[in-house]
């Protein structure tokens, strides 16, 4: 019986002109934003891949020089881009994409895409995921608010119930039809566009993009189902279609628009973002203090004493190299301590925002969606860690090579390609899929909790529906 009712509801929906208009408009919007997103992602991915190879060749082709000079020459590292960033850029527009790797300085990732974008871009939904998470809920509300309330006003609900249709079967059939429609006009395009992204952007296999895409699409449909349940429950409870529409729109406005921003402001009030400039100033002051001339000279004397000599020419090692290596170890500890504190505060804010997902499914889906698409903060943090580990390897390799080659009678030591080649190519691989799935467990649970709670409300309302 439910299946028959479901087929009938689907047939009725398919005949409605507004459904075709909505499907067409969504397809156009999603395709337009995807086209631009894909172009940018593909261009950046290919450019990054090319320049990574060029940088490697530049590094290896350096002329013979002091190894510390080579460490200053350094190289650039580029963050690999997830193919799904074409449909869900996540936090990537607000994060730097490339880092200069050099001695003495732990540089920030620079050039955030959001700073180059037009000012009006921040007010819009310029990506496929923006459309899915802001526009689609509005669309499903407009499709679903009259599911029962409209019938009640026309008097046809009384007829349907009077013909023996159980309210719960009616709910299942109508909700099922609307969900199937949503899957068709939203899920199918999302899957198609994601597939195109996986095929067009290099290294999709490394990201395990196909299973990610399937889980990601299912999550978006689950999120749309939350608002569909809101509209259906409102339709069951409200006396008029107008009331159902007003209640659903209020819910959408509060949950999808206001709550995320309120959560951001509340988290900022409870756990303020630490002042990055203050942290940089502390790091700089501590490093400068350590490098003060008198302290520097004391450390030189200590090295001379360790080797039992009184002048640097008698040392079996290069003094300057040893001092630079020592300084780098000190600076690493300073960076680790200060940046560790800063990142811990950001992580605390992330946890608080995630908890705010209990008050808004939009927050939960945003976090979940980014993690699956590989455009989240954890991915960025992994990239920064990989870069810093590589920078330390570069610096230590060059300094220790210098230490091992004190200037001889033939003149200053000049390293060459065999030394440069000791540093392997820079490689940053994304975490495996199971790590992402572990990370999304909590936001997924929150989204499921919303579905279960709203499903319960809809069932309860269906049992008590009055025609």
């Amino acid at each position: 019986m439910i299946v028959r009712m479901l087929r009938m509801e689907l047939a009725l929906l398919a005949r409605e002109r507004r459904v075709r208009w909505i499907a067409g408009a969504l397809a156009v919007m999603m395709t337009a934003s995807f086209a631009l997103g894909l172009g940018e992602v593909r261009r950046n991915a290919l450019d990054a891949e090319r320049l990574t190879n060029v940088e490697r060749q530049r590094w290896l082709s350096q002329d013979p020089k002091n190894p510390h000079s080579a460490a200053h020459y350094g190289l650039w590292a580029f963050k690999p881009i997830s193919p799904l960033a074409a449909i869900d850029p996540g936090l990537d527009p607000y994060l730097g994409r490339m880092i200069r790797i050099e001695a003495h300085r732990r540089n920030d990732a620079v050039f955030r895409a959001a700073q180059d974008a037009p000012a009006v871009a921040r007010g819009g939904v310029g990506s496929v995921v923006g459309i899915l998470q802001i526009v689609v809920p509005l669309v499903v509300i407009l499709l679903g608010f009259a599911a029962f309330a409209g019938d009640r006003e026309r008097g046809t609900l009384r007829l349907a119930l009077g013909n023996g249709a159980a309210p719960i079967h009616l709910l299942a059939a109508r909700f099922g039809a609307l969900l199937a429609l949503t899957a068709a006009i939203v899920g199918v395009p999302a899957l198609l566009l994601g597939s195109v992204a996986n095929l067009a952007v290099p290294a999709a296999a490394e990201w395990q993009m196909w299973p990610r895409l399937i889980v990601w699409t299912a999550a978006q449909l689950g999120y749309a189902a939350v608002f569909l349940l809101i509209a259906t429950a409102a339709s069951l409870i409200a006396r008029t279609a107008r009331g159902a529409l007003a209640a659903s729109l209020l819910a959408w406005m509060l949950l999808a628009l206001a709550a995320p921003r309120l959560a951001a402001s509340a988290v900022e009030a409870i756990a303020p973002t630490p002042a990055y400039g203050d942290m940089q100033a502390r790091i700089e002051a501590e490093i400068k203090r350590y490098n003060r001339a008198d302290l520097h000279q004391d450390r030189e004397r200590a090295i001379l004493a360790r080797y039992g000599v009184t002048n640097k020419e008698a040392l079996p090692i290069d003094l300057r190299g040893a001092m630079m290596h020592d300084r780098e170890q000190h600076d690493y500890a300073v960076y680790d301590r200060e940046l560790g504190r800063f990142d811990a505060e950001l992580a605390r804010q992330e946890r608080l925002v995630l908890l705010a997902g209990l008050q808004s499914p939009t927050i939960a889906i945003q976090t979940l969606s980014e993690q699956l698409a590989g455009s989240d903060l954890r991915r960025h943090a992994d990239f920064l860690r990989t870069v810093e580990a590589y920078r330390r390897r570069l610096s230590d390799t060059m300094n220790l090579d210098l230490v091992a080659h004190p200037a001889g009678k033939s003149g200053p030591y000049l390293a060459s390609r065999d030394v440069w080649a000791k540093l392997p190519p820079f490689v940053d691989s994304p975490a495996p899929l199971h790590a992402a799935l572990q990370a999304v467990a909590l936001p997924a649970a929150i989204l499921i909790a919303w579905l279960v709670a709203l499903g319960g409300v809809a069932l309860y309302a269906a049992r008590r529906v009055r025609p």
Binding site: L36, A48, Q115, A119, A121, S265, Y276, K288
Partner: protein, 485 residues
């Protein structure tokens, strides 16, 4: 207005004020405005604290340099290189100088976060960076993405929804319930009735929304004056636009549900869809130059410099004829090597930097033109300009910061070159070179005078929204000639 009209207007006002839904909507909007203004005030407090810390940091750096100077001015066996010597002009410039270009918040900054949370309010002048335009303050990207719950958000997104909730059913609700037929039987024109209903809503909304906004701004510590009056007028026109639109949609007599749905769709189109399509169109027509290509260009410049170092050094010092006789020795000094290298990189990357500047300017012009497509975009641009958190102000700030950096170079150059030409020590037994002690004379950054920033945009916004509201009201009046019954 006829006496019947006046009586109806007063009746409608009393009826509106007696409805719990109306009180609830205005109370919610007021609470939202208070929250928005409070968040704005908190943001300004954070910015001011940051700027205060910046000044303290600069003062500390100067006192540290002075203390080191005092130490190094006494005879001692300590030998120090120039990059550890704050008493050397060149050493101080590159390794001890701490100075920033700053962009203080404007008096109405509490109105809107705008681009202010994304773009830095301070730029550290760093002669060691090859990309002075890459500066930003690393905050929490999650907060940037979610956006601030500020006054502009409330005005742009929530106020129209509140007005739709109240205004969409003023006429159509009576149509649906059949009361309209009874009103039509009275000796009163449809236009009089519609005007009374719309007028009542407009009057109460102006009081509640504009008054609420002003009160919220007052609590946030924003000063009064002409800019606030301008913003109040702007918001008043915005509210009237939505009241007029509600009446126009109602004049199509499609029922309350269809009216609400239509208005919400129009709201979605104006506040979300049109900005999205505009941003996509601008990004397509004016693609951002590649930052990766910019980096590649910098590396090529670096390689080019190191291939021809000696020629570059000699070419740079040749610009100073007063040092012609000492040029060959000076070309080997760290001062000349560094100045020559920095000048070479700046010149080599100028085409790329100009391309980015041209792109910013073109994008800005296209955005300002596109704002005419949507009243929401017009309001957004005007309020951001009033708050001083718009893109234009930041572009001007970055240019001023760059000019300041160059001015500092020009200030230190003669001092450093004089020492490179004739390295001398006033105290042979002292560790410091003691050729520089003008720590307090180093030029400071003077923020760009921003008085009246945004005035043009506010006036334009007021005129645009007033014209739009008037057009919609005239259109609605034309349609409301006869009763639909």
């Amino acid at each position: 207005m006829s006496s019947v009209g006046r009586r109806l207007l007063m009746l409608e006002i009393r009826a509106l004020l007696g409805q719990p839904l109306v009180i609830a909507v205005y109370a919610l909007l007021f609470a939202a405005m208070l929250a928005g203004a409070a968040n704005g005030a908190a943001r300004i407090a954070r910015e001011r604290a940051m700027l205060s810390n910046v000044m303290a940091e600069e003062a500390r750096a100067i006192s540290t340099a002075k203390a080191a100077s005092a130490r190094y001015a006494k005879p001692s066996p300590l030998a120090i290189e120039y990059h550890r010597d704050p008493t050397d002009a060149f050493g101080y410039m590159n390794y001890f100088l701490v100075t920033h270009a700053v962009k203080p918040p404007l008096p109405l900054a509490a109105l809107a976060a705008g681009q202010g949370d994304l773009q830095p309010a301070r730029i550290r002048i760093d002669f060691n960076t090859i990309f002075p335009d890459a500066a930003y303050d690393r905050g929490n990207p999650r907060m940037l993405k979610l956006g601030e719950f500020d006054l502009l958000f409330v005005l742009l997104y929530l106020v129209p929804l509140g007005l739709i909730a109240l205004g969409a059913i003023r006429l159509t609700g009576e149509q649906d319930s059949g009361v309209l037929r009874m009103i039509a039987a009275q000796p009163v024109s449809l236009r009089t009735v519609a005007f009374a209903k719309a007028g009542a809503l407009a009057a109460i909304s102006l009081l509640a929304i504009v008054g609420g906004m002003l009160f919220a701004l007052l609590l946030a510590g924003a000063p009064g004056g002409l800019p606030v009056l301008g913003v109040a007028l702007l918001v008043a026109m915005w509210a009237l636009f939505w009241v007029a639109l509600s009446v126009l949609v109602a004049s199509y007599w499609r029922g309350a549900v269809a009216s609400v749905a239509t208005l919400v769709l129009i709201w979605g189109a104006l506040t979300v869809l049109v900005p999205t399509m505009t941003a996509l169109a601008i990004a397509t027509a004016l693609p951002t130059p590649s930052r990766i290509a910019y980096i590649d260009a910098s590396r090529k410049a670096m390689d080019g410099f190191y291939r021809d170092e000696a020629t570059v050094h000699a070419g740079w010092i040749a610009r100073f004829p007063q040092y012609a006789d000492r040029a060959p020795e000076m070309a080997k000094s760290p001062e000349v090597k560094r100045f020559a290298r920095d000048a070479y990189y700046r010149k080599a990357l100028l085409p790329e930097r100009d391309a980015f500047a041209a792109h910013s300017a073109a994008t800005g012009r296209a955005t300002e033109l596109a704002r005419f497509l949507s009243p929401a975009m017009m309001l957004d641009g005007a309020v951001q300009a009033a708050a001083g958190t718009d893109a234009d102000r930041h572009i001007a700030f970055v240019a001023a910061a760059d000019a300041y950096g160059e001015r500092l170079r020009r200030w230190f150059e003669p001092l450093a070159l004089a020492n490179a030409a004739q390295p001398r020590r006033s105290c042979a037994a002292c560790p410091g070179r003691l050729n520089f002690n003008r720590f307090d004379d180093v030029p400071r950054f003077v923020p760009v005078a921003d008085a009246g920033h945004g005035a043009r945009r506010i006036v334009l916004g007021i005129l645009y929204l007033a014209a739009a509201a008037a057009l919609l009201a005239a259109w609605a009046a034309r349609r409301l000639r006869a009763w639909p019954v």
